[in-house]
């Protein structure tokens, strides 16, 4: 029955729904998940890498985390090819702002400009919406550290802790239990890894299935740092989220 309203993304169904937008959100539910946590001295992003084949060689060091500008990074869940387009527009927007004002773009403005692009595809033309959700982590001089979550409809919001992708509802309710106000970055990393390990399908967590990135202040400057696989393995061991290698036991 709903087929009549599926073909055009910009048509409401009689129940007042936009099916294509809802399907796009559904598509993200199958993608590798990502979690973001805000702490008092930084923002933490962790993502689950879906290892499709061990023969596959990844060209970049990160496949879920992207630096948008010196002070903003994002984690992606959804269709990567769609995400690449949006990441590119976000980077262009950030540089345009710097060109106009000689100042870094406030984080919320960057998120909003990207969400305006997303929204456009739910209203105009016979095009499909972007099948991507984002977690944005950033710092600006007005509001300090910030974490935003956006979905394919173009909605966004500021969060203390948020999850996107597979099992995001389970992760979100776990975060609600685990999160405490005023936690440090290290504690946030621990919470994020713990929640991700519980919500991931795979039984044992290893560094090659994970990505960890942090945004924090170092010597007065914003720093974006991706955790190396080695230190990630160490951390997983320390937090007791993975079994030590068989030889050591």
């Amino acid at each position: 029955m709903s087929r009549r309203y599926d073909s055009r993304t910009t048509t409401f169904s009689p129940e007042g729904r936009l099916y294509q937008v809802e399907y796009a959100m559904e598509a993200i539910g199958n993608a590798g998940s990502a979690i973001g946590i805000l702490s008092k001295d930084g923002v933490v992003l962790v993502g689950e890498k879906k290892v499709t084949s061990k023969l596959l060689q990844t060209s970049t060091s990160t496949e879920k985390m992207y630096k948008i500008d010196d002070h903003v990074a994002c984690a992606v869940a959804g269709i990567m090819s769609d995400a690449n387009i949006l990441i590119n527009t976000a980077r262009v927007q950030a540089q345009r702002y710097t060109y106009a004002y000689q100042e870094p773009m406030p984080v919320e403005q960057l998120v909003q400009s990207l969400c305006d692009t997303k929204q456009g595809y739910t209203q105009f033309g016979g095009l499909r919406p972007f099948g991507v959700s984002f977690l944005f982590a950033g710092w600006d001089k007005n509001f300090g550290f910030q974490l935003y979550m956006s979905d394919p409809s173009g909605n966004y919001g500021g969060w203390k802790a948020a999850a996107i992708g597979a099992n995001n509802q389970a992760a979100q309710s776990m975060l609600k239990q685990e999160y405490k106000d005023g936690i440090t970055r290290e504690e946030a990393v621990q919470v994020a890894l713990k929640v991700l390990s519980r919500t991931m399908d795979s039984t044992s967590l290893t560094s090659d299935k994970l990505e960890l990135a942090e945004v924090f202040l170092s010597a007065g400057k914003v720093k974006y740092q991706v955790c190396s696989p080695e230190s990630l393995s160490e951390m997983l061991l320390k937090f007791g989220l993975t079994q030590p290698p068989a030889e050591a036991a």
């Binding site: 004002y101 000689q102 100042e103 406030p106 919320e108």
Partner: protein, 204 residues
Amino acid sequence: MECVFGLVGKDFTLVVADTSAVHSILVHKSNEDKIMLLDSHKLMGASGEAGDRVQFTEYIQKNVALYQFRNGISLTTAAAANFTRGELATALRKNPYSVNILLAGYDKETGPSLYYIDYIASVHKVDKAAFGYGSYFSLAMMDRHYRGDMTVEEAVDLADKCIMEIRSRLVVAPPNFVIKIVDKDGAREYAWRESVKDVPVPAA
């Protein structure tokens, strides 16, 4: 002829401008305010072609207001200066505005500041600056008497010295001046220095 100058004091910035609207050898008006309140904590003193001056400063003012409505935060003085410069630069190779601007502002993080922006779209962050024929005299006076830690009274005293020098040395000296100040409490008119008053004429 036109005199616009400004200086940065201890915790404020002061801008002074003449208030003459002149065409050829004729003075049309001697109470024309050439210092616009850009927003709550910014002043824009401008000289140049009368029409361009009003049009351009109003355009910047409205864009600064739009930014505030859209984003819920206001532009810093540095951002506003660079935005203004950008607008002048894009106009420069199409149909240039003939305006020179002194942008004064006060920001929570950086304190008081003054930006010199000319019609060929250059921007400089300065402690003291001047435009127009009056600049020959006001710059000299400020070079001699300016200090970075001046109080409002000292700065206004220096502005009066500049005005006196312009009035006594410049053939085409304007009669009246307006002094405006921006500090942590906002941008506002401080005083007028008038030697000629417009006398209101009752309607015939």
